[in-house]
C-alpha cells in the first residue's frame, strides 16, 4: 500500500517533465540557446565560413559610429509610435461595428480581412496603391494638390508609406480584440450608468474603456511586438531604399548578415542584440504584468 502510494507520487513528480520534454527541448534548441549564441557571436569578427576572431566590443563601437544604425533606430521609433495608433483606430472601428443590424457579421469579417493576408501581399497591394503614374493614391493626392508624389521613392515619405501599409492589418487585429471585449462588457453597469445620465464620451471613458482593459493589454502587446518586428513590408516595398532611408534594425541586420552579399555575422549579431535589448524592455513589462495576474489567480 505504502509502496503503491509512493510510486504514484513519483509518477506524478516525473510526469510533467515527460510531458514537457519534447516541446521544451526543441524550444530550447531553436529559440532559447540561439539567443545566447547570437550574443556570443556579436563579440567576434566572423564571415560565417572562416575562423572567427574575438574582437570584444568592437562591433558595438562600430555600430555606434554607423549612420545606417541611427537611421534604422530612428525609423524603428517611428514604427513604434505610429503603430500605437492601431489601438485607438481599432477601438473606433469596433465601436462603429458593434451593432446588430442585418449582415453585420459579414461586415465584421470583411473588416478583419486584411489581417489574414500575408504581409508580402499587403506590401504588394500597397506598392501598387502608391505606384507613381497609375497608383490610386498619387491620383487622389494629385487631384487635391495638383502634383503627384511617388511615395516609396521619396526619402521623406517612404517610411511613413510603409508604416501606413502595416497599420492596415494591425488596426484589423486590434478591432477584433475590441469587438470581443465589447461583447463581454457588463451590460448592467452600462445600463446603471445610463440611468445616471452618462452617455457618449463620458460613458466610453469611465465605464467602457476600463472594462476593456484585458483587450487593450493584448492589443498593446501585439502592436509593440509587431512594430519592432517589422521586416516583411520593408523588404517587399523598398528593400530599405531609397538610399537606405527606410531601413529598420531588423532589415539592417538582414542586409549585413543574411542577404546575398551579407557576410558580417558578428556585426549583424550586434544589431540583433540591440534590437533584442529594446524588445526586452517591453517583454519584461508584459511578463511582469502577466506574472502578477498569475499570482492573483
Amino acid at each position: 500500500m505504502a509502496l503503491q502510494r509512493s510510486s504514484r507520487w513519483s509518477q506524478r513528480r516525473l510526469a510533467p517533465w515527460l510531458f514537457l520534454a519534447p516541446g521544451a527541448l526543441l524550444f530550447l534548441l531553436y529559440v532559447i540557446i540561439p539567443i545566447g549564441q547570437s550574443i556570443w557571436i556579436s563579440f567576434y569578427d566572423w564571415d560565417g565560413l572562416g575562423a572567427a576572431k574575438w574582437i570584444g566590443l568592437r562591433n558595438y563601437s562600430d555600430l555606434f559610429d554607423d549612420d545606417s544604425f541611427y537611421t534604422s533606430l530612428y525609423n524603428n521609433m517611428w514604427w513604434l509610435l505610429l503603430y500605437l495608433l492601431a489601438i485607438p483606430a481599432g477601438l473606433a472601428i469596433a465601436l462603429f461595428l458593434n451593432q446588430t443590424v442585418a449582415g453585420i457579421r459579414l461586415y465584421k469579417s470583411l473588416f478583419f480581412f486584411p489581417f489574414v493576408i500575408s504581409q508580402v501581399v499587403v506590401g504588394l497591394i500597397f506598392s501598387w496603391f502608391y505606384a507613381p503614374d497609375f497608383g490610386l493614391l498619387p491620383r487622389i493626392i494629385g487631384f487635391f494638390t495638383g502634383t503627384e508624389t511617388a511615395i516609396l521613392a521619396d526619402e521623406r515619405y517612404a517610411t511613413f508609406g510603409i508604416i501606413a501599409a502595416g497599420l492596415w492589418p494591425q488596426i484589423a487585429y486590434c478591432m477584433i480584440l475590441y469587438l470581443t471585449g465589447l461583447n463581454n462588457i457588463n451590460p448592467e453597469q452600462v445600463e446603471a450608468a445610463r440611468m445616471d445620465n452618462a452617455r457618449g464620451f463620458a460613458m466610453l471613458w469611465y465605464i467602457v474603456i476600463p472594462q476593456l482593459r484585458p483587450a487593450t493589454f493584448i492589443a498593446l502587446v501585439v502592436t509593440v511586438i509587431g512594430a519592432l518586428r517589422s521586416f516583411d513590408l520593408v523588404s517587399i516595398m523598398t528593400a530599405g531604399g531609397p538610399y537606405g532611408s527606410t531601413r529598420v534594425l531588423s532589415y539592417f541586420m538582414y542586409e549585413q548578415s543574411l542577404s546575398e552579399y551579407g557576410t558580417a555575422m558578428g556585426y549583424g549579431a550586434a544589431i540583433a542584440v540591440v534590437l533584442f535589448a529594446i524588445m526586452l524592455v517591453f517583454i519584461s513589462l508584459f511578463i511582469t504584468r502577466m506574472l502578477m495576474q498569475e499570482r492573483n489567480a
Partner: protein, 283 residues
C-alpha cells in the same frame, strides 16, 4: 450594450448608419478591390492607361492561367503546404503535452518554464537567425522542407503552449482529481479525459498556426534557396522582380498566394477569432 443599439436611434440616424456601413467597408478595402480589379484587366488596358475605369474586357482567365504557366507559383504553393501542414501538426501536438504539463502539475519550475515559452515567443527573429541557420546547416537540413518545419514547430510551440496551458487551466480540475482517486494513470488522464475536451483549442490553434506559418516570409527567405523548397511568400518577392510592371500578373499571383489562409479563415472563422482573442475578455 455600448454604443447604444442603433435601433433605438432616430430613423434618419438608422438610415445613415446603413448607408455608412458599405461606404466605410469600400474605403477600408479599397486597396484590395483595386488589385482584384487589376488582376482581371487585360495588359492592353494597363498599357493604354486604363487603370481605374471598368476593364475593357474580362481577362481573368488568361491572367490567372499566365500566372501558373509563366512561373513556378504552383510549386511554391505546394511547398507552402508542405511546410505549413506538418508544422501545424507538430506544434499543436507538442503543445498539447506541454500545455497539459504546465496546467495540471504543481512543481517548482512551473512558472519559470511557462514564461520561458511566453518570452521566447516575443523575441525578434533576427536574434535567432544566424545560430538557427548554422544549426540547420550542421544538421544537413539547409534548403530543405524539413529544416524549415523543424524551426517553425519549435518556435510556434511557444505560442501554442501559452494558449493550451491557459485553456486547460480553465477546465474543471475536479475531473482530473476524481480520475486520480480512481487510480487512473497520468497518461490516461491526459489521453482520455483532457485531450477530448481540448478539441476547440486544437481547432483554434490549427487555423492560427496555419495562417502564421503560411504567411511567414523571413524564414522562407533565409532558409530556402531552391525552387523546390521555396514557399510562396518568398516566391512572390522573386516574381515581383521578374514581372516588374506586369501588374495584372503580380496582382493575380498575390490573390492566388493569399487564398489558402483566406479560405481557412472564412471556413473556420469562429475558431480563428476564438484563438486570436483568447485572453481579451478576462484577466
Amino acid at each position: 450594450m455600448f454604443p447604444k443599439p442603433i435601433q433605438k436611434s432616430a430613423p434618419w440616424l438608422q438610415a445613415s448608419y446603413k448607408l455608412l456601413l458599405p461606404l466605410a467597408l469600400f474605403i477600408w478595402l479599397l486597396p484590395l478591390i483595386g488589385i482584384a480589379v487589376t488582376s482581371v484587366r487585360p495588359s492592353s488596358d494597363l498599357a493604354a492607361g486604363n487603370y481605374f475605369g471598368w476593364p475593357s474586357r474580362f481577362a481573368g482567365v488568361e491572367n490567372y492561367t499566365a500566372v501558373f504557366t509563366n512561373s513556378n507559383i504552383g510549386w511554391y504553393i505546394l511547398n507552402s503546404f508542405k511546410v505549413t501542414i506538418p508544422t501545424v501538426i507538430g506544434a499543436v501536438g507538442l503543445s498539447c503535452l506541454t500545455g497539459f504539463a504546465l496546467a495540471v502539475y504543481k512543481f517548482r519550475l512551473n512558472l519559470a518554464v511557462f514564461f520561458m515559452f511566453v518570452a521566447g515567443n516575443f523575441v525578434p527573429f533576427q536574434i535567432l537567425a544566424i545560430p538557427v541557420r548554422n544549426l540547420t546547416i550542421h544538421l544537413g537540413l539547409y534548403d530543405t522542407i524539413t529544416g524549415l518545419v523543424l524551426f517553425h514547430v519549435a518556435f510556434q510551440t511557444g505560442f501554442c503552449t501559452l494558449f493550451m496551458r491557459n485553456f486547460i487551466k480553465a477546465l474543471p480540475f475536479a475531473l482530473i482529481e476524481s480520475a486520480r482517486v480512481e487510480g487512473v494513470n497520468e497518461w490516461k488522464i491526459f489521453r482520455h479525459i483532457v485531450l477530448p475536451l481540448m478539441r476547440p483549442a486544437i481547432a483554434a490553434l490549427a487555423v492560427l498556426i496555419f495562417t502564421f506559418v503560411w504567411n511567414d516570409y523571413f524564414w522562407a527567405t533565409i532558409m530556402a534557396q531552391s525552387a523546390d523548397v521555396r514557399p510562396v511568400t518568398a516566391g512572390m518577392n522573386e516574381l515581383k522582380g521578374q514581372w516588374k510592371v506586369a501588374w495584372e500578373l503580380i496582382t493575380a499571383a498575390s490573390i492566388v498566394a493569399a487564398l489558402p489562409p483566406v479560405a481557412m479563415f472564412f471556413l473556420m472563422q469562429k475558431h480563428f477569432i476564438a484563438g486570436l482573442t483568447l485572453g481579451a475578455t478576462k484577466g
